[in-house]
Symmetry: C2
Subunit: 425 residues, 2 copies
């Protein structure tokens, strides 16, 4: 059975089925987080540029962040770019990419254009997220390592599923064959405005794949499988094992700190340790997977943006504030760097260890000769209520008190007009 | 010097320079051919679907084929799809793709949106065509063989240059870094409606790369070079040798027959031979490059569409009409196939020979024991006037008497309103 057959069968079986409450609940949290990180991007230069472009393309049936409307493809493009602009949105480690920033804009734009209900849009986002996750695993690590960005490529497939559900297509086959041919997006764009556009582009490609399918256009039954040759896909069919029964999307992780996701397990482990005992440790050893060493081990960051990729700077900040957490104001406060911070950073060693999982980090804190070890794994399940509270706190820190609680009320109530009001604000 | 540097330098040096008349003249012929093959696609199902989609996306500053307007990206998408719908548009063998069907829609849509003159649009199309051709050579045969469609991938780069010229951008750097990240399009789509969409998508990607650049978005300086790893590019820097001095685009070839380009050299050689002596030969041997054997050597075509990929059926038709040429009516007339046609096809052998160039075919015609050999190479230069007359005849056959002559008058006069009238008709 091909990837195309797996995805079309998933679509057929789930498009009207009762979806598991556990997965729906996580998607509601993702919707909350997506609104928080998007609204937090207000005024961001890349977000503003994407919206400037969108607003020049004519009005339409779909809402743009911070006001205005556009045709659904353009809205998906701009809103997807906005929600990835701060790189503060959710990550799925098995998919090797960001999920909600692609599938929610696609589901919302197409859903709005077709008068879909909140429930239909939530279903669309969830099915799209699951399809993106499965496709990301199927394309595999090789696809990522050579230079593709799964967020964009597998994302387009997920967005096509999301938009198909939102539009109520009887089947997703044509849309999937179209989206396969659109799949693009490079890791080379990291560090430039095109990085967030990769997310918007994937959302737009999914929407356009559906609009074209509705107009009678379709691609080859072999187009998706062709990506294994053209796009260095691994053809890991295990990516589709149990699709429609197990919802791998549920392992999505949210960022609770405004810095590189590779540092988050270390931050959580540090916070757990530092909250147990007063005073900064004499020595800290951070043990992480080797893949992160080139990404988030900047030994001497020169500003708060680089500090987001520096285990040492982040750990030193936590040592200063007693493990209370990381926020942008505190990161900015590290610069110009004081002698005290430098002295704390000098107490920290960062060590790579192949045997630790990519999603986990271990920290060994030594106070007066006594060493205690703390480990955190980002994929360890968090109770729903804990996750929700952490997201509400994230919202309060990023937006001001009360905004996130209001978003959550709209989501819990399934109140689409209220949700859209928050988007356009 | 990277591909990006080569292309940005080309842009800077040529965007206001006096361009060679020989290259401009060929681009005028391409514009004529582009109008002919697009207008001939009126009523084609794929063309109609693309236009249906475009017309649903709101009105705008750019003209759609057969009436209506759209924002420039959508117009480029639809018009590019229309002009490739019949697969009757021009081909550049070194680029390994179709050129005008991508760069003309991009140049025209963006030019219209910005009130550009005919001369500026012609310059945009020519510079875009040259950039696409060079980029296609740079990506090379490996890129094509693994499954990418240069028309779409290198096409997007050419379309970005075309749209940049049409919009009057001071430099093309940001647009090129954006377009590199959008580059997509699969050979797997051949034989489906997405094949023509590959051309439209490339045109649209080039236009959107420019619109986004104007809004302040840009990608990495390394994005274009990254395609060598991600997209199996060969990094043939010889593709850029002499760019801006030699115009490799001039080697573009037009289809004078409504069938697979791989059969055209055989058709020309057959026509030359058959016009020299009355009566069908007793035996015909067609010698062609091995790469065409899997493409256009269908031994027993079942309808006129398959006959377009059948050396034997095409040669038999020419034997019947004394080498007068191929048209759709005659191809349809071959079916259901008569005993006479089958008998003629049985006299024909098709032989592969590595030593013949891909653009050439040799035919050996035997009448009563006497064999005469005729060879045609599609890249052999045709005098301008011959090329023009062949295109006007193609237009008369495809559209009816007089249409192509009227197109040519508008092009010769540089009369943009008259040209746009022909597009919207």
């Amino acid at each position: 059975m091909s990837a195309l057959e797996k995805l079309t069968a998933f679509y057929a079986s789930q498009k009207e089925a009762e979806l598991p409450e556990s997965a729906l609940a996580i998607m509601r949290l993702c919707l909350l987080d997506w609104l928080i990180v998007s609204r937090a991007a207000s005024g961001d230069a890349v977000a503003e540029s994407a919206l400037t472009y969108a607003r020049s393309q004519g009005q339409g049936d779909a809402t743009l962040f911070f006001g205005g409307t556009a045709p659904p493809r353009i809205a998906a493009l701009a809103n997807g770019t906005v929600s990835h602009a701060l790189d503060y949105d959710d990550t799925h480690f098995a998919h090797i990419g960001h999920v909600s920033t692609v599938v929610i804009p696609a589901a919302l734009a197409m859903g709005q254009a077709r008068g879909a209900s909140f429930e239909r849009i939530l279903r669309a986002a969830l099915m799209g997220a699951e399809a993106a996750t499965r496709t990301g695993i199927w394309l595999g690590r090789d696809h990522y390592q050579i230079g593709f960005h799964q967020t964009a490529t597998a994302g387009a497939i997920g967005a096509a599923v999301a938009a198909s559900v939102a539009a109520g297509l009887p089947d997703a086959r044509a849309a999937l064959t179209n989206a396969a041919g659109f799949a693009a997006g490079l890791k080379a764009q990291f560090g430039t405005p095109m990085k967030p556009v990769n997310a918007g582009m994937a959302a737009a490609n999914g929407v356009e794949a559906v609009l074209m399918a509705e107009a009678g256009l379709f691609g080859s039954e072999n187009a998706l499988e062709a990506l294994n040759a053209t796009h260095h896909g691994e053809a890991n069919m295990r990516g589709f094992d149990g699709i429609g029964e197990a919802w791998l999307f549920e392992q999505v992780t949210h960022k609770f700190h405004p810095c590189c996701h590779g540092t988050h397990a270390a931050i959580e482990a540090m916070m757990a340790g530092l909250q147990q005992r007063a005073g900064a440790p004499d020595h800290v050893q951070i043990t992480t997977h080797p893949r992160w060493m080139s990404v988030c081990n900047k030994p001497t960051p020169s500003d708060h943006l680089e500090a987001k990729f520096s285990y040492k700077a982040l750990a030193a900040l936590l040592m200063q504030n007693g493990g209370q957490g990381i926020d942008d104001a505190a990161l900015k406060g590290l610069f110009p760097m004081s002698k005290d911070t430098e002295a704390l950073m000098a107490r920290i060693d960062v060590v790579a260890d192949e045997s630790i999982s990519e999603e986990a980090t271990q920290v060994a804190l030594t106070w007066g000769g006594e060493t205690k070890t703390f480990e955190h794994n980002l994929t360890a399940p968090l109770p729903f209520e804990t996750r929700l509270q952490k997201l509400l706190s994230k919202g309060d820190a990023a937006l001001g008190q009360g905004d996130a609680a209001r978003f959550w009320s709209a989501i819990e109530a399934g109140d689409l007009p209220a949700l859209l009001t928050e988007v356009t604000k």
